[in-house]
């Protein structure tokens, strides 16, 4: 962040004791740290039920498509790269590259979401596993569904920044912080998926099933 942007944000900064972290950024970090408790509850919920036997099946762990999920995980992971490149481009003042990388990030996020829609559709139509099949299935859909909702919100925010930049011919110093906050959110959603991919998919998938 440039010193000028800093001034514009809080003209009375020098009158206060402060952590030195901009208000909105500190707020974002606080919010994200509370999200650990949010996703933690969902993952706990899944882990509680994954080892149990139910009258009706299948359980998600019996029908995971690991190669497919590996690819979509990779896509989301790479979207974190394009996100930092957008951040870096804007910090160099390269508005065109910023827009390109923002759009790329939104696209990769959308590909991930499309993959999730595809996965859900397969599970429901081919494997007959719905929300109401058994508690393990319920837990799986609600966990990955809430994660997908977070990704979708992220995509909307990225596209808003892209649209804003397009309309105004670039993002201002003031909006640099917005981009940084969207970036933090985006990476956070990515690290949650890193955990989900390993703990929920790789570690619980029934060997030989995929």
């Amino acid at each position: 962040m440039t010193a000028a942007a800093h001034e514009a944000q809080s003209p009375h900064q020098d009158l206060h004791e402060s952590t030195g972290v901009e208000n909105r950024k500190l707020a974002m970090w606080a919010f994200l740290s509370s999200e650990f408790l949010f996703f933690g509850a969902l993952i706990t919920n899944y882990l509680l039920y994954v080892g149990r036997e139910f009258a009706s099946g299948p359980k998600p762990s019996e029908i995971y498509d690991i190669p497919f999920t590996s690819v979509s995980s990779f896509v989301l992971l790479m979207s974190s790269l394009t996100m930092v490149l957008a951040h870096n481009a804007l910090s160099r003042g390269d508005q065109g590259a910023t827009r390109t990388w923002l759009l790329a990030t939104a696209m990769l996020g959308s590909v991930f979401l499309a993959g999730q829609v595809f996965e859900f559709t397969e599970f429901i139509t081919l494997e007959n596993m719905t929300l109401a099949t058994n508690p393990s299935a319920s837990a799986f859909y609600v966990l990955t569904g809430f994660h997908g909702t977070h990704v979708a919100i992220g995509v909307i925010m990225l596209l808003s920044l892209f649209g804003l930049s397009k309309r105004m011919g670039g993002l201002t110093n003031r909006q640099f912080l917005n981009l940084e906050l969207v970036g933090l959110y985006w990476h956070f959603v990515d690290i949650i998926w890193i955990v989900i991919f390993t703990v929920v998919y790789l570690l619980t998938a029934v060997p030989g099933a995929s």
Partner: protein, 653 residues
């Protein structure tokens, strides 16, 4: 500033009113928001109190038919939800909002518009929760608008619509579709979800304000205890609300979308609900009590004419209570079949909480010890807090002893315990704060004589109401049933009389508040000869708070501007103190330079209005109207978000 901003201002003219109805709807001033929280919470307090009186009228005889069983269930659940989420939390939020910037020497919170958003979401969430009343009680399953059922047991008849009826902790599967088919639990689950959003936003706002907006020189161990407790509560909210959000989503999904989380017949586990609920529920208990502890820590030094004894210990004890509070949740589940190891472990962690709590109680007593006590109304309430909370704390320790808890679980002994901590503790503390800070927002004093009448009516009524519940519980009177053994009738009648004495006390308070607000003695700037920064500015507080942002040199900054000490530590008023106070009051009334304030905004209230619409939509999601409501709610919230984003906080000057 930006072109987008100019465009937005041509479409929507920004609100300009500074007084009157519109100014309250569009305000982003933390003081006005605090007052809104206060009045709203007070209205809910009267409603929750009326519910309690109905319950007590019913319980005055063992086989009473004043209420049907179903209405009884609805009323005690709603009483609990109201008092916790719509009274104690927002009343604490009222003080936090009003005082956080004033006590740290700031002109507002970090995010004034988010602060307004929190309030409106809270208000709409509360209204949403109660709007279940409008929907006839017994619904056919799954959210279809119900008709009147024909063949119900008369005890199931309801005159109060869909009031939530599963107890405030909504245990599963009792609160599942099968056993609670009306819409009541849906309204509770979604209503709490909305209230949670409000609290989460507040929590983030207060944390950032605390860390980034303290006046120069106000290092962490110079921050007033009430503000410390505010930020500790904010952290508790930040980390416990996401847990209950998930738990409530699971209930909503089970009831509305057919998931099987808590359905034991399909392999679901109702104990999971208890874990998630109490992972939130126990920190919630400290969310309710810590603000009152903070208030008392401000009142006692002022009226003892001494600094707070062991300031740092009180702060660390508060933080310690909060931290330990995350590790004790399963003591609510000793009778749920958790393992012996878990019972012993959680029994022990629970007992450790008594240590920091004891530290605080001894520090408050140490502050009063050898002080020149001035027994004004706020001090009486603080003493009431101290004594009643100690009794409640001690009965709490008996729950930590597992075999003893098995006997007490689900009896009136528990009801006695938590009313001693939450009424004798939280409510006494909050009302003490109200008497203490009344001049701050009204510029006038509360009548002290009527205040003391109020206090003693409450002290007597409170003990008549809740002390007998200890022995009623130990004699086996079960909680949450509309019938009890006739041999227990005598004490129950005394309890009911006590409840009415509390109600009379409240009427005295309302009378005192109204008359004092209009005709009370003019307070001046520093009526209590107080210690903290909020008294270094005029009463009522000017819109900009501080004409000059203060520089802080130590704990109790304002006190040290007025007093010095002699060799024995006795305070001596500085000769220039009166002059200093007059100077501060003068620049507060006639600021030397104009102060720029955030502009009012329509968008917080508009955005908040989107949430209950979405919630109604989820409840009726099977009908077209329900789906339309969800879309409408999302569109309204998004539109408000766009308007919000394109409107600068402060207009160019």
């Amino acid at each position: 500033m930006t072109t987008a901003a100019e465009k937005a201002t041509t479409i929507f003219r920004r609100p300009r009113a500074e007084t009157g109805f519109w100014s309250w709807l569009t305000t982003v001033d933390h003081k006005k928001i605090g007052i809104l929280y206060g009045y709203t919470a007070f209205i809910f307090f009267v409603i929750g109190g009326a519910e309690a009186l109905l319950l007590r009228i019913h319980l005055a005889s063992a086989e009473s038919n004043v209420l049907s069983a179903a209405d009884y269930n609805g009323l005690f659940t709603t009483h609990g939800l109201t008092m916790i989420f719509l009274v104690v939390m927002p009343m604490s939020a009222a003080f936090m909002n009003y005082l956080l910037p004033l006590m740290i020497g700031a002109r507002d919170v970090a995010f004034p518009r988010l602060n307004a958003l929190s309030y409106w979401i809270f208000l709409f969430g509360g209204i949403f929760l109660y709007s279940g009343l409008l929907f006839s009680a017994v619904a056919p399953p799954l959210g279809v608008v119900p008709g009147i059922p024909g063949n119900l047991d008369p005890s199931d008849a309801r005159s109060f619509g869909a009031l939530p009826d599963g107890g405030w902790f909504m245990y599963q599967p009792n609160a599942a579709q099968e056993f609670s088919p009306s819409l009541a639990i849906d309204f509770a689950a979604l209503g709490l979800q909305i209230l949670g959003v409000a609290s989460l936003i507040s929590a983030v706002n207060f944390i950032v304000t605390f860390f980034n907006l303290r006046a120069k020189g106000m290092r962490l161990l110079r921050v007033p205890v009430f503000i410390w407790m505010t930020v500790v509560v904010a952290f508790l909210l930040l980390f416990s609300l996401p847990i209950i959000a998930i738990a409530l989503f699971m209930v909503t999904f089970d009831r509305q979308f057919g998931t099987l989380f808590f359905d034991a017949t399909a392999g679901g586990d109702p104990i999971l609900w208890q874990h998630l609920f109490w992972l939130f529920g126990h920190p919630e208990v400290y969310i309710l009590i810590l603000p009152a502890m903070g208030i008392v820590s401000e009142i006692i030094p002022v009226f003892s004419r001494k600094p707070l004894f062991g300031y740092a210990a009180v702060v660390f004890a508060g933080a310690g209570i909060a931290f330990l509070g995350f590790g004790v949740w399963a003591h609510h589940m000793f009778s749920s079949g958790i393992t012996t190891v878990a019972q012993v472990g959680f029994g022990l962690t629970t007992m450790t909480i008594a240590i920091p709590t004891g530290v605080k109680i001894f520090n408050w007593m140490g502050t009063m010890w050898l002080g020149r006590l001035q027994l004004k109304t706020p001090m009486w309430f603080a003493i009431g807090f101290l004594t009643m909370f100690t009794i409640g704390g001690l009965s709490g320790v008996t729950h930590a002893v597992v075999p003893s808890d098995w006997q007490q679980t689900d009896t009136y002994y528990i009801v006695a315990h938590f009313h001693y901590v939450l009424f004798g503790g939280a409510i006494f503390g909050l009302f003490g704060g109200l008497y203490y800070w009344f001049p701050k927002f009204s510029g006038r004093m509360m009548n002290d004589r009527l205040g003391k009448v109020h206090f003693w009516l409450w002290m007597i009524g409170f003990n008549m109401t809740f002390a007998p519940m200890h022995w009623l519980g130990l004699q086996g009177m079960i909680r949450r049933t509309w019938r009890y053994d006739p041999s227990l009738e005598t004490w129950n009648r005394i309890v009911t009389v006590g409840a009415f004495i509390i109600a009379i006390g409240l009427l005295v308070f309302i009378f005192n508040f109204r008359t004092s607000k209009r005709r009370g003695e003019i307070a001046g700037m520093d009526p209590w000869d107080a210690r903290t920064l909020e008294w270094s500015i005029p009463n009522p507080t000017p819109a900009f708070n501080f004409a000059e942002v203060p520089i802080v040199h130590g704990l109790d900054e304002f006190w040290h501007q007025k007093y010095t000490e002699d060799k024995t530590g006795r305070p001596i008023r500085k000769p220039e103190a009166d002059e200093q106070v007059a100077r501060l009051e003068d620049i507060g009334i006639n600021p030397p330079e104009p102060v720029h304030l955030p502009n009012p905004s329509y968008f917080p209230i508009v955005m908040a209005a989107g949430l209950p619409l979405i919630a109604y939509g989820i409840i009726f999601h099977r009908s077209i109207a329900g789906k339309a409501l969800i879309v409408l709610g999302v569109v309204i919230a998004l539109a408000a978000l766009i308007g919000w984003g394109s409107e600068p906080l402060e207009e160019a000057h």
